[in-house]
């Protein structure tokens, strides 16, 4: 009767076992069986030996060129190595920079907590009336100056409106100025135009949006009853004005306004409104 061990030894050498041998996965007992079988199978033995020899040639060390100097030079060119003596200073410097950055962030946080909005770089959007209030005195001065230079404001360059100076003037608006939201630039309003030096545009809106625009120099907020010379406003402020709802239909021309009267227009009914045509 043959034992299991003898049976294992008598079986032919399988490919799996050969692969396990080359994969270095044979246990001690399996190795014993493998070599025992190999001894009794000479063609297989030669085959395994040949492969083993090829593998050992594969494992022979290859003479590799030393690339370290070239690599280090190239790395140094791209990102400098730091001498050991300086490295601790660099580390300390980095820590210090990180500390300063952290302190800065904390400082900003504290300032923001104590005084919200104090760190805003751009001014908070404020209603035009507020801006106008702050510039009221300048506005009055500007209008006074205007009064000194121009007794009356002559409007309506179009010949058909000469005799009816205060009428609905959408056509005249075109000859005077195109004032369209999103199209007409505030810069244009502030730019003197030939032949319209004395002209005035009145925007007859309702409520807080009602404005009068003196295109050359003055921006008038009826609601706040002050006049603001455009020349006193920064371009960004002019550009940020809300022109929504302004169209030729609610723009009117006035024939003449005493600038002093314009200043009072917010409280009393302005002449423009009285002369408004249906």
């Amino acid at each position: 009767m043959t034992s299991a061990r003898d049976r294992r030894h008598s079986e032919p050498l399988s490919d799996e076992m050969v692969n396990a041998f080359f994969d270095r996965e044979l246990t001690e007992g399996a190795s014993e069986v493998f070599f025992s079988k190999l001894r009794s199978d000479l063609p297989r033995c030669a085959e395994v030996a040949r492969m083993q020899r090829a593998i050992s040639l594969l494992r022979e060390p290859i003479e590799a060129p030393d690339v370290s100097a070239r690599v280090l030079a190239e790395v140094h060119r791209r990102r400098r190595f730091i001498p050991e003596s300086l490295r601790r200073f660099v580390t300390a410097g980095r820590l210090a920079a990180a500390g300063v950055a952290l302190a800065g962030v904390l400082g900003l946080f504290v300032v923001e907590r104590v005084s919200p909005g104090a760190l805003r770089l751009s001014p908070r959007p404020r209603p035009v009336s507020e801006v106008v209030q702050h510039a009221a005195q300048d506005a009055v001065q500007g209008v006074s100056g205007l009064a000194g230079g121009t007794r009356t404001v002559v409007v309506l360059p179009g010949p058909e409106l000469k005799d009816q100076p205060a009428r609905r003037a959408s056509a005249a608006v075109h000859s005077l100025m195109e004032l369209r939201p999103g199209v007409t630039s505030a810069k244009l309003l502030a730019t003197p135009r030939a032949g319209a030096d004395d002209s005035m545009i009145i925007y007859r809106g309702a409520g807080p949006d009602t404005r009068i625009v003196l295109p050359e120099v003055v921006y008038f907020d009826r609601n706040a009853a002050v006049v603001l010379p455009l020349g006193h406003m920064s371009p960004s402020r002019i550009g940020s004005m809300d022109w929504a709802g302004v169209s030729s239909d609610n723009l009117f021309l006035l024939p003449a306004i005493d600038p002093a009267e314009v200043v009072r227009a917010g409280k009393a009914s302005p002449r423009s409104e009285d002369r408004r045509e249906p």
């Binding site: 994969d23 060390p61 290859i62 590799a64 370290s68 190239e74 790395v75 190595f81 730091i82 490295r87």
Partner: protein, 194 residues
């Protein structure tokens, strides 16, 4: 090199320590060059790839993920560089270089015939390796030449361990056949192989 020691070197090199960077290069350049030489079959290309791989790695050490081995990382970079180089210009190893490797070395007067025969076997081996598909070649080289464990190869190539093994078995089988074919063309090889 122990892994902790290597991590320490990487940390120092990333902080600008030239000596640490040099130790890293010297520790890995031979194996990387051997791998690339087997893969490309071209000594010049292998050297260029090894050099550029080290430059890339050392200038980006802060990106090193310590969960992986440094060798895995640099081999990956080198392999990508080689693949990119192959895409830019068609590899020439398939015909030219193989023939160069396969040419019998000129026999110097008095040279040992046995040594010459070993040289031919090396040529045969390289030819057989280059005759393998790239995946099989790579696995055979990593496993048998560089002694990488199956698990590390699987991680490096991002394939299951079983696939690594089947590639390895097929690669060995194919290499054996290619060697046998080479033997039939050159009697010297048979002499060198027992």
């Amino acid at each position: 090199m122990k892994r902790s020691e290597e991590e320490n070197l990487i940390l120092r090199a990333s902080r600008g320590d030239r000596a640490a960077a040099e130790v890293l290069i010297r520790a890995h350049q031979a194996s990387l060059y051997g791998y690339m030489l087997r893969m490309t079959g071209q000594a010049d290309l292998a050297e260029d790839v090894v050099q550029e791989a080290f430059v890339r790695v050392l200038t980006n050490l802060d990106r090193f993920d310590p969960r992986f081995r440094f060798s895995t990382w640099i081999f990956t970079i080198a392999k990508r560089l080689w693949v990119n180089a192959c895409q830019k210009q068609k590899p020439t190893y398939s015909s030219e270089v193989v023939s160069t490797w396969g040419k019998p070395a000129p026999i110097e007067p008095g040279a040992d015939e046995r040594e010459d025969s070993r040289g031919r076997v090396r040529d045969a081996l390289q030819e057989a390796l280059l005759g393998l598909p790239a995946d099989q070649r790579e696995i055979v080289v990593l496993f048998h030449q560089l002694d990488w464990p199956i698990r590390q190869i699987a991680q490096y190539m991002d394939i299951p361990e079983g696939t690594v093994k089947s590639h390895l078995h097929r690669g060995r089988l194919r290499m054996r056949r290619l060697l046998e074919a080479y033997e039939s063309r050159s009697g010297n090889v048979r002499e060198a192989l027992p």
